[in-house]
């Protein structure tokens, strides 16, 4: 399982990478592995606002359709349009090319609710038992 040490993680398998007041959000390598081949990603619109824990996207694989939750609240500044035509990027490069959205973080203290990479690894290993 791949992890990015520069990200923080929530229990629903989203990652967030903070860049100043902004952040990129995506789903983890573990999440894409569980989903298997991703065939469709439904993204929000730029300008939408979501609270922490809100559903902001849907990812559909050959197995299932799954909601994607906001690890921290904020406004959507940018969406990754490449995922519309190339949903397979979620499987190939979950921490890189397959970021879902860029947001303006509403409340940086919400980041404290999230796990670092090692804590997330331990969390996932607990799930598999």
């Amino acid at each position: 399982m791949k992890l990015d040490p520069n990200c923080r993680y929530d229990q629903e398998h989203e990652w967030v990478r903070v860049e100043g007041d902004e952040a990129l959000i995506g789903i983890t390598d573990y999440a894409q592995d569980q989903l298997s081949d991703v065939v469709y990603v439904e993204l929000p619109e730029v300008g939408d606002t979501f609270d922490q824990g809100d559903v902001f996207a849907v990812v559909e694989s050959v197995k299932t359709a799954s909601d994607v939750y906001m690890p921290v609240g904020g406004d959507i500044l940018e969406i990754n349009e490449a995922l519309e035509d190339s949903p397979e990027l979620v499987n190939e490069d979950p921490f890189g090319q397959a970021w879902f959205v860029r947001i303006a973080i509403a409340d940086p203290s919400e980041l404290d609710d999230l796990m670092d990479a090692e804590a997330y690894r331990a969390y996932v290993e607990g799930l598999d038992e």
């Binding site: 569980q34 081949d37 469709y40 050959v62 299932t64 397979e88």
Partner: protein
């Protein structure tokens, strides 16, 4: 052990367009005996459709061959969990084809179709009785349609009381996907609650979302894990206590007939899947039926028309019959309106009625007893082959994790595809979502012990193949007309219509 597919293995059938030869026809038109006239507007005619030109024999062989490529419960075992693929007795078809049923027209006067209305009325009454409800509408024409109808009824009930803020529907994480889809379609908001370790709705989580904005809970019992909700009275108390209603997803009613009545368990509304429980044909784009039953407080909101009867001696009874009763169509007082044209899928109602009358009350109870026994027998036969999701007594179906301990690289999908080579339809896979690599197995009551034993033996043999030769499974099916389909490409780049060579 391995099935002999015979002609069905002879290869893929071309689409009918590929059989077309210019000028070939399936009919001979008679001589023109009226004056020839130009078409009003030639611009309305399309020449891009390129309709196939085939003889009657080409046509017949094409569709007969296609029918031979199909899998059906009339060919073999079809343990598709949650779908209740029981055998549909052919007497149902005979009844539905009786001219008095098959050749009636929905615009006929009610006095001319008293027999049809009597059948509908008796079916309403039988469904009320078997499920413990106060009213039934036969209007909805599929299970999901019945669900939508049920949720609209719940909403109408709250709105009629001026309780406008009830816009949230609670759905357990084991629910059929139609439950949240129905909620969205009704314009309401889905609130998901998790299951506990025993597969029941998590009561603490349910309590935490209960409140004055709850329209209702959608609950399947037994649930999609094939488990009876053990804390049902507490669930009912919570939802009713916060002013909500409880919707029953009747998809799994095959486990309960003659044993428990949802209406008496506290459900306020439930749809019946006549094509599951009451042996009418399944889908395939054809007609279905999803009647809705309701408790007393929701009767005024049922979609109409429903069939009522009056006695000739009563004042206002428009009686022309000698029998002394008259069947007529009424719209319930505060009805949510029509949800379908005319009177539902009448031909399907005839089949369900026939099934219920052929079995009788005792027979229906036996159906459920055998469905539950068959599921638990098969589960027991699979002990040590594939791990079952929950160690409990199951109802009419059960879910296993589709992973052989000795072959971790073989997945539920590979097992499913390999079962095709053994002459079995695969179980439902990857559902319910809360069980990893789920295989959901529902044998139904109509299968013999021999069939169940053969299926268990196939899964055991596939387990040995998985350990010794996993590639065999990754490449399955080997004997079907088409091999492993590329589901990923089909989803990412769907080709939705034939566009020539």
């Amino acid at each position: 052990m391995k099935a002999d597919f015979g002609i069905r293995c002879s290869g893929a059938e071309p689409v009918i367009y590929e059989l077309s030869k210019p000028g070939r026809m399936a009919t001979t038109l008679p001589q023109l005996d009226v004056p020839q006239a130009a078409l009003p507007d030639a611009a309305l005619l399309r020449d891009d459709v390129d309709l196939p030109e085939v003889s009657e024999l080409d046509l017949m062989r094409h569709y007969v061959r296609m029918s031979q490529l199909n899998w059906a419960v009339d060919i073999g075992f079809y343990p598709l969990g949650s779908c209740t693929m029981k055998y549909n007795p052919k007497v149902n078809e005979a009844a539905a084809r009786l001219p008095g049923f098959a050749r009636t027209h929905p615009y006929q006067d009610v006095h001319a179709v008293q027999g049809n209305l009597r059948l509908m009325h008796e079916l309403q009454e039988m469904l009320k009785e078997v499920a413990g409800f106060a009213g039934v509408s036969l209007q909805p024409s599929a299970g999901a349609h019945g669900e939508l109808t049920g949720v609209l009824i719940m909403r109408a009930y709250h709105v009629a009381r001026g309780d406008m803020q009830r816009t949230r529907i609670i759905v357990p994480d084991s629910a059929h996907g139609t439950n949240p889809a129905t909620t969205n379609m009704a314009g309401l908001e889905v609130v998901e609650v998790p299951s506990d370790a025993r597969g029941n709705v998590d009561l603490a989580a349910l309590e935490s979302v209960c409140g004055e904005t709850v329209c209702g809970l959608m609950l399947t019992n037994p649930n999609t894990l094939g488990l009876f909700e053990e804390q049902l009275p507490a669930v009912m108390e919570l939802i009713h206590g916060c002013g909500g209603l409880v919707y029953g997803d009747g998809a799994n009613f095959n486990a309960l007939m003659g044993i428990a009545k949802p209406g008496e368990l506290g459900f306020d509304v439930m749809h019946f899947n006549l094509h599951k429980t009451f042996s009418t044909p399944h889908g395939g784009g054809g007609p279905g039926a999803g009647p809705v039953g309701v408790a007393e407080l929701l009767v005024p909101f049922l979609p109409g028309p429903v069939v009522a009867l009056c006695r000739c001696e009563e004042a206002g009874c428009d009686c022309q019959e000698e029998e002394g009763v008259h069947y007529h169509l009424v719209m319930p007082e505060q009805s949510i309106g029509r949800v379908r044209s005319f009177y539902g899928n009448f031909g399907v109602l005839v089949r369900a009625y026939t099934y219920m009358r052929a079995l009788g009350a005792e027979g229906l109870r036996e159906v459920s007893e055998m469905a539950v026994l068959n599921a638990n027998y098969l589960k027991t036969r699979l002990a040590g082959v594939l791990p079952v999701s929950h160690q409990r007594t199951h109802m009419h179906e059960f879910v296993v994790k589709g992973i052989y301990p000795s072959a971790p690289d073989v997945h539920a999908l590979d097992i499913s595809k390999r079962l095709i080579d053994y002459g079995f339809h695969p179980p439902t896979n990857y559902f319910p979502l809360i069980v990893p690599e789920a295989l959901m197995i529902e044998p139904t009551e109509t299968e013999s012990k021999e069939t169940l034993d053969a299926f268990a033996a196939a899964l055991r043999a596939i387990g040995e193949e998985a350990r010794d030769d996993p590639e065999l499974l990754h490449e399955a099916p080997h004997t079907a007309p088409v091999r492993r389909l590329d589901e990923v490409r089909a989803a990412r780049e769907p080709i939705l219509r034939w566009q020539g060579g």
